[in-house]
């Protein structure tokens, strides 16, 4: 087990390095630069000398390899540098928005789990009956409806009927729970629907599979009550893939908030990402991508570890 774990950790390093190289190159290939954008997007007459001076100040005139080495050596000591747009430390910019996005993601996860597990189980138990078909349609619709459109409809509904919109500025839940929840419950619902759809489908198919396994048949044959079969035998064994999907979707959600945060004007990671990409704020985008990728790889790693712990065959493959 230890060897497997160490192996997996070592494998993470080339992946992360690959992500770093890819994002670094992609950013430099994008047309347009932050200096032109900053001084020319609103008009004004800025001389080429000022633009050149600003590029020097941001280190954009250094050779590319130098820029990459600078960035990497900063990363080694946990220094992400400063935002090229605001001049504030990258980490401060991210930290001030992370809480909001994490909360929305967690709320969406809770919502999705609460919806998905009962619905998925129900659908599996009544496979191919009308309950199942209904739940399947509900779930597939969840995959189909764009969450930003759902968000737009929600706001439209609230505004037209109650002349009210969710609060505009974020307050942490421990400061003002009511304010906090009334702002974040809507985006959590909008993205949670899709999320619950994915999890419902996973729950349904794994439970169907588990119900066909030998030990379930044995339990049934022994005359164990159906409810007990489901609760004690089927559910427990079906939970692993479901938890996996929930975990992976959570990692994806952080990136997936990109569009929804626009609609609700949430000051989160997704909005920050779109803004920094459109500004070509290299240091910020690099840090954000590394953050999301690391998070995603870690979740994957934990899932694999969990599987390996439960299923010895995987360790020796």
């Amino acid at each position: 087990m230890l060897r497997y774990t160490i192996n997996r950790i070592l494998l993470m390093i080339p992946t992360l390095l690959g992500v770093a190289v890819l994002v670094f190159v992609l950013l430099r290939l994008m047309p347009g630069d932050i200096v032109e954008l900053r001084f020319l997007m609103d008009g004004g007459q800025v001389s080429p000398e000022v633009l050149a001076q600003e590029r020097t100040r941001l280190g954009l005139d250094k050779p590319l390899w130098q820029q990459f080495v600078d960035w990497m050596s900063g990363l080694m000591v946990g220094d992400f540098g400063v935002s090229m747009w605001t001049g504030r430390p990258v980490w401060d910019e991210i930290a001030s928005r992370l809480e909001l996005s994490m909360q929305v993601a967690i709320m969406a996860t809770i919502l999705a789990t609460l919806i998905a597990i009962p619905l998925g189980t129900l659908a599996a138990l009544f496979k191919d009956r009308w309950v199942d078909r209904f739940i399947q349609v509900f779930a597939i619709a969840g995959l189909a409806v764009p969450s930003f459109w759902l968000g737009m409809l929600m706001i439209m509904f609230l505004l037209v009927n109650f002349n009210w919109i969710p609060p505009l500025t974020f307050k942490p839940i421990y400061v003002d729970p009511w304010h906090n929840l009334s702002q974040l419950i809507w985006p959590a619902l909008a993205v949670g629907y899709r999320y619950s759809a994915v999890a419902t489908r996973m729950t349904r198919s794994t439970i169907i599979e588990v119900l066909q396994e030998d030990y379930i048949r044995t339990a049934r044959a022994k005359g164990v009550f159906e409810r007990l079969v489901v609760r004690r035998h089927a559910m427990r064994n079906a939970m692993l893939p479901v938890v996996t999907v929930i975990g992976l979707e959570f990692a994806f959600l952080i990136g997936g908030l990109v569009v929804t945060e626009q609609v609700f004007n949430l000051n989160g990671i997704g909005k920050l990402f779109v803004e920094t990409v459109t500004r070509a704020d290299y240091t910020m985008v690099q840090a954000l991508v590394m953050l999301v990728a690391t998070f995603f790889i870690l979740v994957n790693f934990l899932v694999d570890l969990l599987y390996a712990a439960l299923d010895p065959r995987i360790r020796y493959r």
Partner: protein
């Protein structure tokens, strides 16, 4: 359908910008003004800023030497200057400064601060940035004979000098702070303005609070103001409709105005004015066939500006037909004078026939090109769609290319385009600023047409040094005629600014620029 929501309930006098009569009420003190801003300032330095998103949250912390009279644009009044005089030859400006002005840290304000500020703009040192050096290039020296007097000496006559001193960008900084660190204002806010800095939550909001020692008696009225950053247009208008914010000071589209009026009725006040911004078509004159004036002029002639202005004004924030200067500005061409410019006549059929003839003469058949536009929905997209439709009517095919802003700017500046939709937007009507778009590329950093035309340069310099407004106007007409005949760059339709305020907001004045009248000194809340 439009008619149902069409007529705004309250339409505060628009074109003439009448002196407001609403101030008859006695102003009330206190309250917090919440307003939306659609973007966010990157840092806090006025001298390196170009965006309204900077002016709206930051300007209330500062004063400038002069400013535009909020109720009587373009009249210039003192801000930190008590009075001023201009020598007969137009080469010396002497300012008497106000007494008892204090900075937010309690230190007194004096002429040294003015000198330090303008030296920083003119000639930034130690890594400081200044992007408006050109406006003060004519200054020879700045002297401070005593603590309340500043004398500017010029090298050359400049008809726009007073306008320059009223620029909203020239925040007066503390000389002491600048001496410690020229970059101090980038990360710190410390001025003499009506409001002290409280906080800036990145991506979220900006707060200022009343400066108790402000030099104007009994001002400001407000206790605080809170600028909330909302990038999404729909979210911004929703916030305004729900009363979460009381205004947004850049401008709304007609659709937003109609929506707000129909939802809120007489709880709000609509202010409208022509806007000192225009979308201009510009040609890459290095690419064939756009090196040919006939082709360029044909594409200008094909546009029915009058019908377009009327139709687009219902869906986009453009409305006025004008030449190289904002229609309605005292030095701009009158509607009658405008008719004489090519492409500004009322008979569109004749103009289109002429356009086709010009294209035939130039030997251009089935002209088709990529039309570079900015990926900003309002008003770039509607105007772009409109232009493509207009050109289609003389048999010209334009393919819409709308990259996001930074790629758009890179393509325009790099000459990586054929025909593009550029914009011209500045804080004031001043011809020195406005016409810089049209003069030769080797003189102007914002000419993306890559041409040099010495006649335009000559006329530009002549009007700049002409202190007599009537004569200056004459030269400007010649400039317009030549620029629009050559049609390297030509205006399409000028913008129209629409501001929707909740009625509680009093003492705020409309102006043709979203960069002006935002110090919030005289604004109060009736609640």
């Amino acid at each position: 359908m439009m008619r149902k929501f069409g007529l705004p309930v309250v339409l505060v006098a628009a074109f003439a910008l009448l002196p407001a009569t609403a101030d008859a009420q006695t102003p009330k003190k206190g309250g917090e003004l919440r307003f939306a801003v659609s973007a966010e300032p990157p840092d806090y330095d006025c001298h390196a800023a170009t965006s309204f998103a900077f002016v709206h949250p930051v300007r209330p912390h500062y004063n400038t030497l002069l400013k535009f009279d909020p109720a009587n644009y373009p009249k210039v009044v003192g801000d930190l200057a008590q009075s001023w005089e201009q020598s007969k030859d137009g080469l010396t400006y002497t300012f008497k400064l106000k007494q008892n002005v204090k900075f937010h840290d309690g230190s007194p304000f004096s002429s040294a601060d003015v000198k330090a500020t303008y030296e920083r703009i003119r000639n930034p040192q130690n890594g400081a940035r200044s992007i408006r050096k050109a406006a003060y290039a004519d200054i020879a020296s700045i002297e401070t004979p005593d603590a309340s007097t500043v004398v500017f000496k010029l090298k050359a006559k400049n008809a726009s000098m007073l306008t320059n001193f009223a620029s909203p960008w020239d925040c007066i900084y503390s000389a002491a702070k600048l001496k410690e660190d020229q970059k101090f204002p980038e990360r710190n806010v410390m001025g003499t303005g009506p409001f002290k800095f409280v906080e800036h939550a990145a991506g979220s909001h900006w707060v200022g609070e009343r400066f108790a020692d402000y030099h104007v008696k009994d001002r400001p009225y407000l206790d605080r103001y809170r600028a909330i950053f909302i990038t999404n247009t729909a979210a911004r208008v929703n916030a305004l409709q729900a009363g979460e914010v009381l205004s947004e000071f850049r401008g709304h589209s007609p659709a937003d105005r109609d929506k707000l009026v129909s939802a809120l009725g007489n709880k709000i006040e609509v202010h409208e004015s022509p806007w000192i911004c225009s979308l201009v078509v510009t040609f890459n004159t290095e690419k064939k066939p756009f090196d040919d004036a006939r082709v360029r002029r044909a594409l200008s002639l094909a546009i029915d500006r009058y019908q377009g202005a009327e139709a687009l004004s219902k869906i986009a924030l453009v409305r006025h037909v004008g030449g190289v200067l904002r229609p309605g500005y005292e030095l701009a061409a009158s509607p009658a004078e405008l008719l004489k410019y090519p492409g500004f006549g009322k008979d569109i059929n004749a103009a289109r026939a002429e356009a086709k003839k010009l294209l035939a003469e130039a030997g251009v058949k089935d002209l088709s090109f990529k039309f570079l536009n900015r990926n900003v929905p309002m008003p770039y997209t509607p105007v772009g769609v409109f232009l493509i439709d207009q050109w289609r009517q003389i048999g010209v095919t334009a393919e819409h290319d709308q990259p996001e802003t930074k790629a758009y700017i890179a393509n325009l500046r790099g000459g990586n385009y054929e025909v593009g939709l550029d914009f011209n937007c500045d804080a004031v009507d001043d011809p020195n600023l406005q016409l810089a778009k049209y003069i030769s590329a080797d003189r102007s950093p914002i000419n993306y047409g890559r041409y040099n035309d010495r006649k335009l340069d000559e006329l530009y310099d002549a009007q700049k040094g002409e202190l007599d407004p009537a004569k200056r106007k004459q030269i400007l007409r010649q400039f317009g005629q030549h620029a629009l005949t050559e049609a390297y760059t030509f205006p399409t339709i000028w913008w129209h600014r629409i501001i929707v305020n909740w009625k509680q907001i009093k003492g705020w004045h409309m102006s043709p620029s979203h960069y002006l009248n935002q110090d919030l000194q005289d604004v109060w809340l009736d609640q």
